[in-house]
Symmetry: D2
């Protein structure tokens, strides 16, 4: 077992076995709550290679705990089904071959009932293990792995919702995951600009508390003076770009972006559909009229960058957004997964104490920064080291969390990353400017 304790950051209170158990159990329960509105049939479907069936998420998160905790630290653990190691590994090369990602939607078996039994088996086994090993020689490592497994499962909670949203959107019946739709009548406030001074800053995770390996090491970075928009770009802002011929003007687009929107004949965000002269959008509540006061969402990096160019602004750099996030802190109500809204909300008015609305939650904000290792970053050896490091190429960082991001991930140093063409996450735009 190559993981040494210092590779596994952890909130100190989670070294308390009861707290650890409570946290673990709550995460497991929440995942199962999220699938309640779905039928077994819904959970089989894979609508594109990037998205996985719900049933697969249920099993893979369980596989993670089984593989990295139970199989390593519990000599009494009885493997639920030896085939699952092959079926439910996602991308860990160190764990051997696995069922090909594009074929996850072919797995009608094991049936949902067995997957739920698998979940119960592993949940109970971890809970028992904690009872046996808490405070013992490996406890620090095990507690760290439990916490890592919880964060891993939380990431899949978010994907589970964005993936099923995509599945349902492909259905001409446009079925809802949930109802009723949280309709809003508030108007979006005007966009204002908030300035930040030039200087040598530090970013990245340090100190106590959990963070993924890629969030550190904390390090210095120099930033010129800049300003950030007081709120994300709204659907109304984005419509103005569309009406102004945004999708037809190559001067606004990166070369790869223009090639993609030409090839796919894109002329609106994912999930938008023109109908009877107006715009509808597919949501987790079925198809609804577009609310032009809400933050624009499901935009690719390409769209975000083209919009920023059109607006005479730019996308923020990763460090700029972290600076703002760190300054804001996460106090106050955030529209994240815990909120249960599952849809972006209209921004409130900026206040003296809170000049940057919706930094946390609502929509992930694309940064202009390619996902890359921080100075002195070293991935852990073995499978756990594959978690983030091997994706540090061709993807862009997003910050701040969305309306379906678990609360624990809505932290200033959290680095989300997706390919620049990806649209199926709740991804939006906060503009930045040089000063």
């Amino acid at each position: 077992m190559p993981l040494s304790p210092h590779h596994l950051p952890i909130d100190p209170h989670l070294l308390n076995a009861e707290e650890s158990l409570f946290r673990f159990s709550a995460v497991r329960i929440l995942t199962e709550k999220l699938v309640k509105p779905l039928s077994a049939e819904d959970m089989v479907v894979q609508s594109m290679e990037e998205a996985s069936p719900t049933k697969w998420h249920l099993a893979h998160t369980t596989w993670f705990h089984e593989t990295f905790i139970l199989k390593v630290f519990d000599p009494d653990y009885k493997i639920f089904d030896p085939d699952y190691h092959f079926l439910f590994n996602s991308y860990y090369e160190a764990e051997g071959p696995r069922h090909p990602r594009p074929h996850r939607g072919l797995l009608s078996r094991p049936p949902l009932s067995e997957i739920m039994a698998y979940r119960g088996h592993v949940t109970a086994a971890v809970q028992e293990l904690v009872g046996k090993v808490a405070g013992g020689k490996h406890w620090r490592t095990i507690a760290g792995l439990i916490e890592l497994g919880c964060h891993h499962e939380e990431q899949h909670q978010e994907l589970l919702l964005t993936d099923i949203k995509h599945v349902l959107s492909c259905n001409p019946l446009k079925p809802a995951y949930k109802s009723p739709y949280p309709k809003e009548v508030r108007k979006a406030p005007d966009m204002e600009w908030v300035a930040f001074a030039e200087g040598l800053y530090e970013i990245g995770h340090a100190g106590d508390g959990f963070a993924f390996d890629c969030e550190g090491p904390r390090h210095k970075t120099y930033l010129n003076a800049f300003s950030l928009a007081s709120r994300p770009v709204t659907n109304g802002d984005y419509l103005a770009f569309m009406v102004d011929g945004g999708y037809k003007n190559p001067a606004l687009w990166l070369s790869d972006a223009w090639a993609q929107i030409q090839a796919e004949e894109r002329h609106a965000p994912l999930y938008w559909r023109e109908k009877d002269g107006g715009w509808q959008v597919f949501t987790l509540f079925g198809e609804q009229p577009v609310n032009f006061d809400e933050p624009a969402s499901h935009l690719s990096y390409y769209e975000a960058d083209a919009f920023a160019t059109w607006a005479g602004a730019r996308l923020p750099r990763e460090a700029e957004l972290e600076l703002a996030l760190a300054a804001a802190g996460t106090t106050g109500a955030v529209n994240d997964l815990g909120n249960g809204r599952y849809h972006p909300a209209v921004a409130g008015k900026a206040t003296a104490g809170n000049r940057l609305q919706q930094l946390f939650g609502d929509v992930w904000e694309w940064t202009a920064t390619a996902f890359a290792p921080y100075p002195r970053f070293k991935p852990a050896p073995g499978a756990i080291g594959e978690y983030n490091g091997k994706f540090m190429c061709n993807q862009f960082v997003l910050r701040g969390g969305s309306c379906v991001t678990p609360a624990g991930h809505v932290r200033p140093t959290y680095r989300n990353f997706f390919f620049p063409h990806s649209q199926w996450q709740f991804t939006g735009i906060r503009l930045a400017k040089d000063l």
Copy 2:
């Protein structure tokens, strides 16, 4: 309604309303019986573009009765769900746009329960309609359409089984549709040759009784003297071809065939897998050791043609096989869907009265004849005319039915057709020779 009575051939006894009702109900019940071993989850999956989800088969066969009978002839018919017209049309351009074929596997909704309710609704409506219209002005046409709808549904019964076999085969768990496996210990008899004389023959459907439009008109065709093998090629025969380097010798293959097996790195029939030095084959009973005495199955036209070349023989022409089928008649036990075996059986010994074993049932036999219209063939106008005519290009005719072909389709004039690369049907080889 452009269909005139003479376009709809029908067995005279089915003009009797009770017989028609009995036939219709039996077909509907059999379809539902076939899905009994499957879970709702199994029925969602589409494993390749050519194959459809079980649930789609259940719905599309129902759509056929609804669209061509109820909507046309029953002014009181209450449409079950207006969205279904779009969702469950297969390829009838005259019936308007439809859900794209490759996306049938994305439809977790409507759920199975609603599809079964749809089936019940339409079954009952047809049954009621018969009560109202039997013997009336349109009865001849309606009875013909009911019979056409039954034959259509029977075709989908066969596809339902071959499609779910493909779905299950893609699952690393290799689940069985059914059990136990019908193991056999009989040995295959030697292959003998049965001669047919040169002459001007007639083939094609004529007279009373149902047939698809493409089975006629009956017409003259001239055949040279030829002989047919007394039984289909067995797995053992086919293994000899493989062992002799059949898949590595381009001289045996058509040009398009060689390109395909090179590109897909084929070296064995679909569903065969080498394991521990022997061959396993995926069946509707899960993975089993290959029985070398059974008829070889799941072979493409390309494989069938290469095998025949290797064997110093050729594939029969369509007319040659029809001649043999017509001479044999369908008396005697046939291993077709009604038999419930769902797997090819070992051939019996040829007898004086039955020199050609397994002409009917077990495996479809590829002919060397491209599917084309018979002389003076004219498709019906409108959607019904799309049934066969528009596929008369790039496909080859198969004859004689398989172990999952409904009994009613195991008739001498029945023309099945598939693309030469297709492998997922129960398709095999009967050799022919010039005399």
Copy 3:
């Protein structure tokens, strides 16, 4: 050398060495004359996988003589360059691996000058060989191979022109291969119908004279009464189909055809381009206004079939056209390669003695018959046997030759074949009807 004399049909007068030499030399010279209007640069380009660069045609035809005659029968033959065996084999698996077809356009080397030297080397060597072996033990076989090589080279003369037409058509400059354009003012005569009686006929090559293996054996075939149109379909006829929405009506198209024209957004024949409200067509004389009285050309089988359906007619069967071709004979002026026009001409009026205009030359006529072996057909063993037999799948027969077909190939039994989507040959339509 597995070829026995009877595999190599030959005109008796070509057993005379002088006649053989004259024939061989004339073919070699004509090929070289055809490339005169082209630059070395033109001859390098490959515009699609199906079409080959001019330089490759020059070399491959030479390779054929070298491989099948010189290397086998001339122990003194000095190989021009050992690399050429790999570079210039087309598809003869029996001759070993070869340069991949889609990469023929990457071969800037060997330069044209060396290819011409290769041609000279092989031409001279064959001429010398004839001097040495005429009348000897192998002469019958060698003379047969020379004649086969001549026919092979003639086929490539036609391809050379259709391939360079495609290359030049891809160039926005629309350069001409030749000039001036042979403009015509004649009007096309009305289409009339010529009847043929039902009966048992014989078709296929027999007796003396050269024919490819697939043209035989001569055999009986039964035909119902039918009639053929007196002339091919003109551009004007085809425009009427277009104007009537032909490309937008799925009821007219085969299923595979409809898929193709949808995917490629086809709405006119290959080489047609709308310009300033009229239609231009790319010809070997550059882009010209469409002449609506000329036979329509560069149509796929799919287009030909859809047109025939729209016209309430059908495409002729192969045997029907051979019957007509055989009855007509090839006497009289034919617009073939020898004519030097390189473009279809307007049909003349039907006369009592010649009721079917343009059966030979002008445009190949698609038949409704898939290319398949005639009864008792057996390909020769070895590479020569790959000539036609391995293509007997997925292609359709065309009859009668075109305006770029060498005169020797314009014979009643000649079976040309192409895939149903192919458009780059001079392929047109003669309608047929049942009587």
Copy 4:
């Protein structure tokens, strides 16, 4: 004309008309010298979408001068051929539609002779224009555009050589662009490490002299202490990685990298071929035995990154390499295009005054930095602004120039960029380490 003078950086001495003319003429002549070893046939071929035919490079560089200088500033300029604007635009959307990039290899016309006449026409016109406008109102802008056009043409000189290398490599004859091969017997020195101190540095172009827009603005960046390898990785070093199973160990590769090498079955650098138990490599001098003391070349970013991981090091950041390049300066002999070697050389021994060998020339060095705009970067409006800005996504920066980079581009601030899978440039590896 939106370009204002300050957008066009220029070496002050090039404001002297004679110097400008001399520079311009020298660049034009060098391009034409580079194609001397090639035939017109060689210059037609396009071997992959990313690479262009030689003839296209000759024409496009000329189009650049014509479009951005002559058409704008010379009212008397007579356009050589109006079709060329469409044919030879590369990617400038602002200049309208253009011939599709993947079809450049279809242009046998215009012939080479006309392209050379086009070159002469434009060269003379620019020379005349200088005579007319030197010192005038627009001279500053025109001189800047001439210099930009020279740099543009120099970039295409490098591409011309790497593209023709790829074309020739695809030919089974493995022809040489040049001979004789510059064989070397020197041994590569051992790899040593050179340390750089932590600090706040400035990078980017500033002050006088030409630079592309993306090289500025000069700005501050903070670097941790690091060290660089004293020489690039050699073929011998790289072979050790291969022998150690480098291509088979997923733990060494980025996720996208592993997917690519699996899909393409990569197991060696581009141009390497195993033969008779040893390794051959295709060079501009034909196929040669690999010299294991030379810098490894034609490696993708993916390969470079995997090698660095295997070696326990990392790739340098862009700023780290610029720091080293700026410290080294370009004094001393550099193996660049001017050197005429056209192949990497074996590194010399590090000396006290020159501890980092081959920073300039030989092979481009991949950095770990995605190509992105420097702080406050703004592209110029209009077509010139498309030069670099629109490519700032999905590509990685390379530094230092190669053995075919024109001398003028071998400067510390020069930012080359390619996609991480690209291999056809002379791209290699210099290792870095954290301190």
